[in-house]
């Protein structure tokens, strides 16, 4: 394993978020820190885009060839090969393996927000600033842009997001006498009790295997479970009093058997959604479309609302999911690769196609404000303008949530600790302590300073 000495550039990637300046903190070496920051002239860009070029793009997004075709039509000299090497961990493993091997890595990759720091840590992403990315920084929802950029550079272009809301079966709720979506978590607990006693349904399911959803809920509650200074220091606080408060709340619902604790995204879960075992789902903006495929038979009986709030009158949400496109720093065609990542996520025709064909919930503010997107009335939700609702929620996601450069471990460790406690209906707060201990130990083993 070769590791080039880390440069100030790479080490300080998310320093902006913490408001820290890190110039000079690095462990030396400076040969390769200019690659991303040299200004690139418009003439160079124009020339590169007219030179016959072949790009490889690793992504799991289905039918993304259609958006890529729009790019190829705009820049006929560039030929893009789209390859699906797997989704989730498989995908990242292969990218990392190719980077390690120093050969065979693609030019552009799909990457979820939470994994961007793990790639900037290893200097693997190209800073897109010199390639025009800075000019489009205002065109995406703030918090998504914060997650792809830092003072040191712009590392990816947001494609879709997953601001969280509450999808629920209005018919089951009405049967239990709940006519309004619960505004606060206290109301939610009351409603859960009513639904359980009147219909036997759980108000929703808190999955035992989904760190991303629980992280989204913590995000909403204002919990900042971790941070990274972009260099060698991380802080880990997953068992903070605020996080404990959230878990104590769910512990109560679990102990009173008012909420399901099944693993999600398997057959039993899909059946639970379609047969009314769960009367709702605290999910993300991609949830409405997903649900239409999963619970077709219950069309027209669903409604959408914002998440319940911790304080009355608040309007806060968290994010769950979504992804971006990034350019690997090993690319031989940085200009063309950067153009691809930007074009498919910025060109209005392409972003509209993502929203209407792949049903990705857009990160583009222009599209989120577009009547043709927000105005559609969804029969599955009784004619509700679901996109409009979630476009509104997207504005309420807290902007300063960040990620650690080793989220794969953090998530896997969640399943071993908190997830297992949820599934076994055990001690959630105690499990937070275990999760904390595991992350701290891993971070220290990896050479980080833990604050």
């Amino acid at each position: 394993m070769k590791k080039a000495p880390r440069t100030a550039l790479a080490m300080a990637t998310s320093a902006a978020i913490l408001g820290m300046t890190l110039a000079g903190c690095s462990s030396g070496g400076g040969e390769d820190d200019t690659a991303g920051s040299e200004p690139v002239s418009q003439a160079d860009i124009d020339e590169a885009l007219q030179t016959p070029t072949e790009l490889t793009f690793w992504t799991w997004v289905p039918d993304i060839e259609d958006e890529v075709a729009l790019f190829e039509a705009a820049y006929p000299a560039i030929d893009v090969t789209v390859e699906n090497v797997g989704q989730g961990l498989d995908h990242y493993q292969k990218v990392r393996t190719a980077l390690e091997a120093g050969d065979g890595a693609p030019d552009v990759i799909q990457v979820e927000y939470q994994y961007i720091p793990s790639f900037t840590l290893t200097d693997s992403l190209l800073d897109l600033t010199p390639y025009g990315a800075a000019d489009i920084s205002g065109d995406y929802v703030d918090w998504a842009w914060n997650q792809v950029s830092s003072d040191e550079g712009i590392w990816a272009i947001p494609q879709d997001i997953g601001p969280m809301g509450n999808l629920y079966r209005s018919d089951i709720m009405a049967q239990a006498g709940v006519t309004e979506p619960p505004a606060t978590y206290a109301d939610y607990a009351t409603a859960a009790e009513q639904v359980r006693s009147a219909t036997g349904s759980y108000i929703s399911n808190l999955p035992s295997n989904d760190p991303a959803q629980v992280t989204g809920l913590l995000w909403q509650a204002g919990v900042r479970p971790w941070s990274w200074d972009g260099d060698q220091t991380v802080s880990i606080d997953v068992n903070s009093p605020e996080a404990q408060e959230v878990m104590t709340y769910w512990q109560d619902l679990i102990d009173r058997d008012l909420v399901g604790t099944d693993a999600d995204f398997n057959d039993a879960f899909y059946q639970g959604l379609s047969t009314g075992t769960y009367a709702g789902w605290l999910t993300a903006a991609w949830g409405p479309i997903f649900l239409q495929g999963t619970a077709e038979a219950t069309s027209g009986q669903w409604s959408a609302a914002p998440l319940p709030q911790w304080e009355e009158g608040q309007e806060v949400s968290g994010n769950w999911g979504g992804s971006t496109d990034a350019v690997l720093s090993t690319t031989e065609n940085p200009i063309a690769a950067a153009a691809l990542a930007q074009f498919i996520n910025h060109d209005p025709e392409s972003t509209a196609l993502f929203a209407n064909q792949q049903f990705l919930f857009p990160a583009s503010t222009e599209l989120l404000a577009d009547e043709s997107f927000t105005g559609s009335e969804v029969a599955f939700f009784g004619g509700q303008k679901v996109n409009e609702l979630f476009a509104g929620i997207a504005e309420t996601v807290d902007t300063d949530f960040t990620w650690l450069p080793f989220m794969e471990f953090v998530y896997s460790s969640f399943n071993e600790t908190v997830g297992t406690a949820i599934g076994d209906r055990g001690d959630l707060v105690g499990a937070l302590d275990d999760w904390q201990a595991q992350i701290v130990r891993y971070a220290e083993d990896q050479g980080f300073t833990v604050e």
């Binding site: 394993m1 590791k3 035992s208 295997n209 039993a268 794969e408 990896q446």
Partner: protein
């Protein structure tokens, strides 16, 4: 001296030629063996002596990874689980396989050719498919077993919680490999000269007696082979935990089996070096256990011979 050389020259040349041909014939194997096994093995041994940290990069740490592994409760937890698996599942599986092989061999069962095929089919089903299929059969809500239990008024049985997952996995593995082991034993049974038990039959020995006193001792080496395969297979379980992990994520921990642990270390924790050390220790452990099994059986054989 000189005369012997001259008279032997043609033979020596031929011998040399033959040797060259032999080397040529085994060369492809050795080429593949070296590039696909020896080199990767050496490389992982090399990797296991280093530590690669996200901060600080790679450094030579000697045997530190091995020291860490020897005090790693997760690793030993997995080994312990597999030891239980070995002690419980392997005897059941091999017992059933032996019984079926003897039944087929006795010629009493009608349509034994068809039966042989039926028993062997599960082995032909890819492990991935088998595990997914069993995942459905075990399902708590819609699995046929659960539905049947509810229909007759019983509680829904749980096959996939942390208490029962090991048993459920034993069942899957048994189902998968009974046919395979049976075929090995059956093939060995067919090679026993029939005169041996014709004589026994004439002496009035029952089928059970023939099986116990003639057939089983005669296929001892084949049984030993299946035992060794099963020992190795057990400690290397990977597909089943990996696939059941998606169905029962809370019942399967990252270190459920040693192999699954090494995989998670390498690809989730991104600690390739430690994973290599774990894999090496596992290999060593398997070699030792297999050797002990073989030794134990050889001693048993000797004892039997001397008591005769």
């Amino acid at each position: 001296m000189a005369s012997t050389t001259t008279t032997h020259r043609p033979t020596a040349t031929r011998r040399r030629k033959q040797a060259a041909a032999a080397y040529l014939f085994i060369a492809p194997f050795f080429l593949v063996f070296t590039t696909m096994l020896v080199v990767p093995l050496g490389y992982s041994l090399y990797l296991s002596l280093f530590q690669d940290r996200l901060i600080g990069g790679t450094s030579f740490v000697g045997l530190d990874n091995y020291v860490q592994a020897l005090t790693d409760s997760a690793f030993f937890g997995g080994l312990g689980r597999m030891a239980v698996f070995l002690v419980v599942q392997v005897p059941i599986m091999l017992g059933v396989a032996l019984f079926l092989a003897l039944a087929l061999d006795s010629g009493r069962a009608r349509g034994s050719k068809a039966l042989r095929l039926v028993y062997f089919v599960p082995y032909a089903v890819p492990g991935v498919v088998a595990t997914l299929m069993w995942g459905y059969l075990y399902g708590r809500d819609f699995g046929p077993i659960a539905q049947l239990a509810r229909a007759v008024g019983l509680d829904t049985p749980t096959f996939l919680d942390s208490g029962s997952i090991l048993g459920s996995m034993m069942n899957i593995v048994t189902w998968e490999y009974v046919g395979y082991n049976m075929i090995i034993m059956y093939a060995a049974l067919r090679s026993i000269p029939t005169e041996l038990y014709e004589a026994a039959e004439m002496d009035g020995a029952s089928q059970a007696r023939i099986a116990w006193s003639i057939k089983i001792p005669a296929i001892r080496p084949a049984i030993l082979l299946t035992v060794i395969f099963s020992v190795i297979g057990t400690f290397q379980l990977f597909n089943e935990p990996s696939l059941l992990d998606t169905i029962a994520p809370n019942a399967i921990s990252n270190a459920f089996t040693p192999n699954f642990y090494a995989y998670n270390l390498a690809f989730v924790n991104q600690d390739v070096n430690y994973a290599a050390a774990i894999a090496f220790l596992l290999g060593l452990f398997i070699a030792v256990v297999s050797y002990v099994v073989q030794l134990g059986s050889a001693r048993g054989e000797r004892k039997q011979e001397s008591s005769r």
